[in-house]
C-alpha cells in the first residue's frame, strides 16, 4: 500500500503512527474543477485518495464541535508559549491569504483562524479544528504571497486531512472518543468533556505542536498544501521556494533549529515538490507587491498599527460571581519583520544577503518605489558594520531587449 508515500517519506517519526488505515482503500473522491489545470501534478500525487466525508465518518468518535473546542484550548496553550502578535493589520493579511487557500481544501466548511506569533523562531503549525499559526521568523523568510500561500496551505492541510485528530487517536488518547459514546445526564457529560478537553489539549500541545506531525503527514500536507495554493490561483512553487530558502540558510542559523526539529526532512520534501512541479504547466500569481505592502509597514512609509483590545469572554458560566474582568494581556513590543541587523547577520552566517526586493522598471535604470524600504534597511545595516567588505551583484529577468 502506498509504496510511493513510503519511499518519499522515508521513515515515520518515532512515536506517532499516522492512523492511515482509516483512509486506506477509499477511492471515491470529491471532484473539483481545476482552473487552468493548476495543481494537476499535485492532484495526481494524491497518494491517499482523500474523501473528506469518509474520513469524517471513520473518525466519528471525535465530533467536529469537540475538535474545534480542542483547537481553542490548544490555542490558549500556544499563547502561553509564544506571544501572539497583536497587529490586526498583519494578522488580517495572513488570514486573507489563508482563507483564499482554505476555500480549496477538502474541508472548506470549517472556520479557519490565522494568527502570527511574535518570535524569531521559524515555524508554522496548526491545531485541530482550524487554528493556523505562523511565526514572525517564518514571515521574514518569505518573499511573496505565493510562498505564504504554500506554507499556510501546508498547515491548512493538517487540519483538512484530520492529521491532528489522527495523532490523538494514534496516541490512544481516548478521552474525547470515550466521551463521545458516553451517555448520561448533561452535567456529568459536561464534566467528562471538560476533563477530556484538558488532557487532550495538554497532549496535543506537548506532542504535536512542539514536536511536529509524522513525516508521512508532513509529506501529505506538502502535496495537499501546494495543491490548494495552485487551485486558489497561486504559483504552486511557493512551498518549494520556502523549503529551498530554509535549506540554503542551513540549520545552524538561530531560529531555524525549531523548524528543522518539528519539520524533519526538508531536503526530501523540497525534492518531492521539485519533482511534482516539473509536471506543472507553471504560472499562477505571486503578488509580491501586495505581500511587501503588508509585511513592511514599519520600514517604509510608517503605517499605524491598529490597536485592538481584547474583549472579555462573552459568557463564562464558570466565572465566580463578582470576579474582576482580567486586564488585557501586556502588549508585546512589536519588532519589525525584517530589521537592519539581519543584513550583516546574514552576510556573516550565510556569506551573503540576497534581496529580491530591489526592482527596476523594465528596460530602465530607474528604481521602482517599493525598493526604497529595502535599500534603506540595507544601508542602515551596512553603515552599522563598516568593516564588512562586499561584492554587490545584480540579475535581470528575460523581459525587455538585450541592449
Amino acid at each position: 500500500m502506498r509504496a510511493g508515500a513510503r519511499i518519499a517519506a522515508l521513515a515515520l517519526a518515532a512515536g506517532l503512527a499516522t492512523g492511515c488505515e482509516t483512509v486506506a482503500g477509499i477511492a471515491e473522491n470529491v471532484q473539483i474543477g481545476l482552473p487552468g489545470g493548476a495543481g494537476r501534478a499535485f492532484e495526481a500525487a494524491r497518494l491517499t485518495a482523500v474523501a473528506a466525508p469518509k474520513i469524517a465518518g471513520a473518525l466519528a468518535d471525535i465530533e467536529e464541535g469537540q475538535e474545534i473546542e480542542l483547537g481553542r484550548a490548544v490555542t490558549a496553550a500556544v499563547g502561553k508559549r509564544y506571544p501572539v502578535r497583536r497587529d490586526a493589520a498583519l494578522m488580517r493579511y495572513v488570514a486573507l491569504v489563508g482563507q483564499a487557500v482554505a476555500l480549496h481544501s477538502e474541508r472548506p466548511d470549517i472556520q479557519y483562524y490565522f494568527a502570527v506569533l511574535d518570535t524569531e523562531e521559524v515555524n508554522a503549525f496548526a491545531t485541530p479544528g482550524g487554528f493556523v499559526f505562523i511565526t514572525r521568523g517564518a514571515l521574514r523568510l518569505i518573499r511573496d504571497e505565493a510562498v505564504l500561500a504554500g506554507v499556510l496551505g501546508h498547515e491548512i492541510a493538517h487540519i483538512a486531512l484530520y492529521h491532528g485528530v489522527k495523532a490523538i487517536k494514534a496516541e490512544k488518547q481516548k478521552d474525547l472518543a470515550m466521551f463521545a459514546v458516553r451517555e448520561g445526564v448533561a452535567h456529568t457529560r459536561a464534566a467528562a468533556f471538560r476533563g477530556a478537553i484538558s488532557s487532550t489539549a495538554d497532549f496535543f500541545t506537548e506532542t504535536v505542536i512542539l514536536k511536529g506531525y509524522s513525516r508521512e503527514q508532513e509529506a501529505e500536507a506538502d502535496r495537499a498544501g501546494a495543491r490548494y495554493a495552485a487551485r486558489a490561483g497561486y504559483d504552486p512553487a511557493g512551498l518549494r521556494d520556502f523549503l529551498t530558502g530554509l535549506i540554503d540558510r542551513g540549520g545552524s542559523e538561530s531560529g531555524l533549529q525549531t523548524f528543522f526539529s518539528t519539520h524533519p526532512g526538508a531536503r526530501e520534501r523540497r525534492d518531492e515538490q521539485d519533482t511534482l512541479l516539473q509536471k506543472e504547466a507553471g504560472g499562477g500569481r505571486r503578488n509580491p507587491e501586495r505581500f511587501e505592502a503588508a509585511m513592511r509597514p514599519r520600514t517604509g512609509e510608517a503605517r499605524p498599527a491598529r490597536e485592538v483590545s481584547t474583549p472579555p469572554p462573552a459568557s463564562d458560566p464558570y466565572a465566580p460571581r463578582g470576579a474582576p474582568i482580567p486586564p488585557p494581556p501586556n502588549p508585546q513590543p512589536q519588532a519589525a519583520l525584517l530589521v537592519a541587523a539581519d543584513v550583516p547577520r546574514a552576510i556573516e552566517s550565510a556569506g551573503r544577503y540576497v534581496s529580491r526586493r530591489i526592482h527596476f522598471d523594465a528596460g530602465s535604470d530607474r528604481l521602482r518605489p517599493e525598493s526604497l524600504g529595502e535599500l534603506r534597511l540595507i544601508a542602515e545595516g551596512l553603515s552599522a558594520n563598516p568593516t564588512l567588505r562586499l561584492r554587490i551583484e545584480g540579475h535581470t529577468d528575460s523581459t525587455g531587449d538585450a541592449e
Partner: protein
C-alpha cells in the same frame, strides 16, 4: 470580442444545466449538525443550522456546495459532505455527540454564543490567557474583504470564478 461572448454563453448554459439537475431534489443531513451559510465558504454568515436527519430541498449547486432551503424556510449554502441523497434517521444518541453546550441549548444558539466554554475552563485551570483565543477569533477578516482580496489578487474562487 466574439470569443469572449461565446465562452460566457457556454458557461451560462453549463451552469443552468447543473442547476436543473439538482433543483428540487431532497437531501438529508448526515452530520450531527451542519451550518447553512449565505455563501460558499466557512467565513460567510450562518443563516440556519440543520441537524442530522433533517430534510432540506436543494435549489442548486456549485463547486461542492449545495444551495438549500431548510425546514424552517431559510435559504443558504451547505457543504455537500454534510448531505446524503438517502434519508438519514437520526440515532437516539446522536444529540449526545454534540459538544455539551450544543446539546443543552438549541443548535443555532450554540453555534452563535456558547462556544469556547470548555476551552475557557481549561485555560483558567492551566493559568493560560484565553484572551488570546478571543483576540484571534475576533480579528479575522469578513467575507466581503476576502472576496475583494481574491478578486484584486487575480485569484480563483471555488468553481473557477474570479
Amino acid at each position: 470580442m466574439r470569443a469572449r461572448v461565446l465562452v460566457i454563453g457556454v458557461l451560462l448554459v453549463g451552469g443552468a444545466a447543473a442547476m436543473a439537475v439538482a433543483q428540487g431534489s431532497p437531501r438529508w443531513v448526515e452530520r450531527t449538525k451542519a451550518d447553512v451559510r449565505t455563501g460558499r465558504g466557512s467565513f460567510y454568515e450562518i443563516v440556519d443550522t440543520v441537524l442530522k436527519g433533517e430534510k432540506v430541498d436543494v435549489l442548486g449547486s456549485e463547486a461542492r456546495w449545495q444551495q438549500v432551503q431548510t425546514p424552517r424556510g431559510r435559504k443558504g449554502w451547505v457543504f455537500e459532505a454534510a448531505l446524503s441523497a438517502k434519508a438519514v434517521e437520526p440515532g437516539a444518541s446522536d444529540f449526545l455527540k454534540l459538544a455539551p453546550s450544543d446539546a443543552s441549548t438549541s443548535a443555532t444558539a450554540a453555534s452563535a454564543g456558547a462556544k469556547g466554554v470548555y476551552a475557557q475552563v481549561y485555560a483558567r485551570e492551566r493559568g493560560y490567557d484565553y484572551g488570546v483565543v478571543t483576540f484571534i477569533e475576533s480579528s479575522q477578516p469578513p467575507a466581503s474583504e476576502i472576496e475583494e482580496f481574491v478578486r484584486d489578487g487575480g485569484l480563483v474562487l471555488p468553481g473557477g470564478g474570479r
